[in-house]
Symmetry: D2
């Protein structure tokens, strides 16, 4: 991690809600979980941070388990080519979001999960508790309330989809679950463990199969093409792995069949991805030569 | 009205809410009020219909009275070049609507009126009762509730503006006033009387000045350039008068300094303007030679 | 003109081609031609300047003479709501420009005129020579060549329309005529005289009718809604007359049935309209009370 | 290939130029070249077809050889989210195309190659002759001329970029090279051989290194995220390999470090990708389990 150290503290910590802005920018964690369950860690891998958009990987897994494909009638799988919370593409494409990792797409996934389970937040929390082995994993209530208060744009996206008939539950209820999901806190080490679900192509920590191999591949393909906001092309080249980032500074990367890698550094670049996290993953794939390309 | 008669019943009655769809498409009314207060009527000019977007003229007058210009920091005055409820222009222009006659612009005007008066709906109803001389003029509660139930797209627009900091009151409260305003019912004759406020360049029925001459001109200029959805250019040519239409089938036209003209026919053309209303106004300006051009 | 004098020299002279940038910014001219042919002038009304977009009024008249309406299959009549040389609206609307006063619309008009006459430039020059009474009126060759050299965006617009099948002649030929038309030089007094064609609702200086009364009204309606780039709404209010401006600093305004008014000042505001020209017209309509509203 | 056979003849052969439309839709070829140079073929792998957009992979390699990175100032590397020949994103992003595989991006690459070499077409043909081992490989003159005649939209794109200062050579010259490049004909077997340049991470058929390992990875990352028009997300999932398709019906796919795979079937799906080619690649990765995910 000698290459990463000089860059610790770079970037801008997300501060659109106060709780995110309070994180120490000098923190950095890096954890690699192997398919056999062994984990290697460097740095602040026990400190919990806000998962934010990284949760979208796991809610997507939850709505595609048991061979479910209904969700693909409600959200496309193509890169968006525009900002993660943009409305205009949604408008031109009749309320069907471009992919499940931009905000409107993730809201549709939460809506679907809510309709399927009756409690989308509990479903996600249950999955993450099981996969991380942390029975206390939970949302941060202060962050969730702050998101609710500042969530006008997400409300606008959700009502636009409702206007197109693409919401199954009332918008306020869906957004309540959505914001609580985003505010789940997790440590770097826990995130690496949770990601093994994908590295093992759909097999859970307890050895049971949750989603079939093809569904896991589909999620990883979407991570690679759409997982890092408007920098997916750049990440595909630099890191060469399926990744999902969050504005809490975390990034989850998968080496299919082998590793789940989690990196965390709160400072974000102009596109919303962790500066040190991206650098650490870049270094990791160069050293280990495990780019998919 | 011989030229209009063969076209009565043409067009499609708005039916996005059930109440609007229940109107008899064969109705037609035409009323001309002169600046001296005399009124001439033809047809069903005593039947009340839903004002819908025509209310936007009067709420705009209410927020520009007493020399107020603050509203022009929150909404532009330019034609939109896109559908009346489109989001993308609003997004690219940072939550400031193109003009006060598209939906987001009118929502901003209602928000401003609500902030100024504490009761936007009552302010509008009061003005219209005084100008029409009808003390019972009111909203249709069923229509208002239906609008509320189908108003997801307007909610989306309002929350998008809130996300840009361009709302002074809570969105649900503003929309409640907005939908009640739109559902005010008025007769063709009453509408012609109310429009004299503009024909007299800002002077009310009781002879008092409500808005100054320049503010009245500004409103008429916006009517001519933006008053008939995406057909403003066509209306400017065919009718040659400042007009404002509504999906209830009404159209208000002003001959500056001389007449206020109201036409009503529930059947709408593809752009949302009354088929018989537009035809009647077209004929009126040709016969009287009172186009502004 | 006391109100205008302090503002002379304000604004930015167009300089995208060197010839336009060489004009003395302190020049100012104002001329009013009455329907009876009498002309009143103030300032530098004998100095010639580049007509630029003001020519679009006269080419439009040329393709609508003799009751021709074919042009309206190739160009709409609605305000554009976007920059005068924007491509995206043209792309979404299948190569049919929004109106004849934005660049792609004007290129279509020139193409039509070229197809009709065999020499679009000569047709325009002939009309303007006759209406101004100046047999030497002509294009400025240096300006025309400069426009050709810097005209990549207009080429892009023209080829996009060609790709949609909306060009009748080869693009290079149409643009040659188009650029020569734009570079015609005219004095403020001459422009006021030429505008009488519209003020008289289609009657030429020699008393013959060129276009019918309705075609003249249509052109004036388009001037009012689309004649001053993205400031049409603002002009409609401030000046209250059909206007057409050009980046050479000229503005032509019409008081239907009464006057043709020309103003010229090279300094442009941020939307491309003459600062002093707009101010002079604003003052003119306030003093004479001849706004159409 | 039993799974592919029933679908032979499906889809629509590209026919925007007559030459492309003359191809027998029942043709199908599939070839796998291993990194050691051995090639396995099925079907019509000796029949030549029009490379079209597949050439973009090789022109991109040519402008990034010898560590050149200048091209990345002129074109981005992100998925586009809109049609391959769309103008509006190009306009909003100031003439810098989203990636080198949409038309404007490829035109910029050809322009760069022309500026670097003096003959972009010859440079590409030389590379392909060497890598395929076919000294007669060449453009089809009839197709190239047809492309020139129907290329108005590409002209529009090129002039738009020229207007933004993003062209180094005259537009007509660049397009002449671009259209000739696109019309190069190649057989399925030859295409598989040529693709080994990427499968070997930048090493040519003669064993010399042309581009460094990272540049080859970057090209493959762009293929995976942007190589199959607006279906890149779908291909990433179904095929799970970096691919580049062309409207001639060819698709090139790379298994990094191991294989170059070429498939050809003239019938295209709604997004412009070969129906049988996509199916064959899908089957190939499922059978061989060589998806990168």
């Amino acid at each position: 991690m000698a290459r990463v150290r000089p860059h610790i503290g770079e970037g801008k910590v997300a501060d659109y809600i106060p709780e995110l802005g309070r994180v120490d920018p000098a923190r950095f964690g890096f954890a690699v979980a192997a398919a056999d369950g062994s984990v290697h860690t460097v740095g602040d891998t026990g400190v919990r941070f806000s998962m934010q958009s990284i949760t979208k990987v796991f809610t997507l897994a939850l709505v595609t388990q048991a061979g479910e494909t209904h969700i693909w009638d409600r959200v496309h799988r193509e890169p968006s080519g525009s900002a993660f919370n943009s409305l205009y593409q949604l408008e031109f494409e009749n309320g069907v979001p471009r992919n499940p990792f931009i905000n409107p797409g993730a809201i549709v996934v939460t809506d679907e999960l809510l309709a399927n389970t009756g409690d989308a937040f509990a479903a996600l929390r249950g999955l993450l508790r099981a996969e991380t082995g942390n029975p206390d994993l939970d949302a941060d209530g202060v962050t969730a309330r702050s998101e609710l208060e500042t969530g006008d744009r997400n409300r606008s996206l959700a009502y636009l989809m409702a206007g197109f008939g693409n919401m199954r539950n009332p918008v306020p209820e869906v957004l309540d679950h959505y914001f609580r999901q985003c505010s789940i806190t997790i440590s770097t080490e826990e995130l690496a463990r949770a990601g093994l679900l994908l590295a093992r192509h759909g097999v859970r920590a307890d050895g049971s199969r949750m989603i079939d191999r093809n569904a896991a591949r589909r999620i990883m393909a979407i991570m690679l093409t759409c997982g890092t906001y408007d920098a997916a092309g750049e990440f595909a080249y630099r890191v060469g792995l399926p990744c999902k980032s969050g504005v809490g500074g975390g990034i989850l990367a998968i080496v299919p069949g082998r590793y789940s890698v989690a990196a965390w550094g709160p400072g974000l670049d102009a596109k919303g991805n962790s500066v040190t996290g991206a650098l650490a993953l870049d270094t990791f794939t160069q050293v280990t030569n495990c780019s998919v390309f």
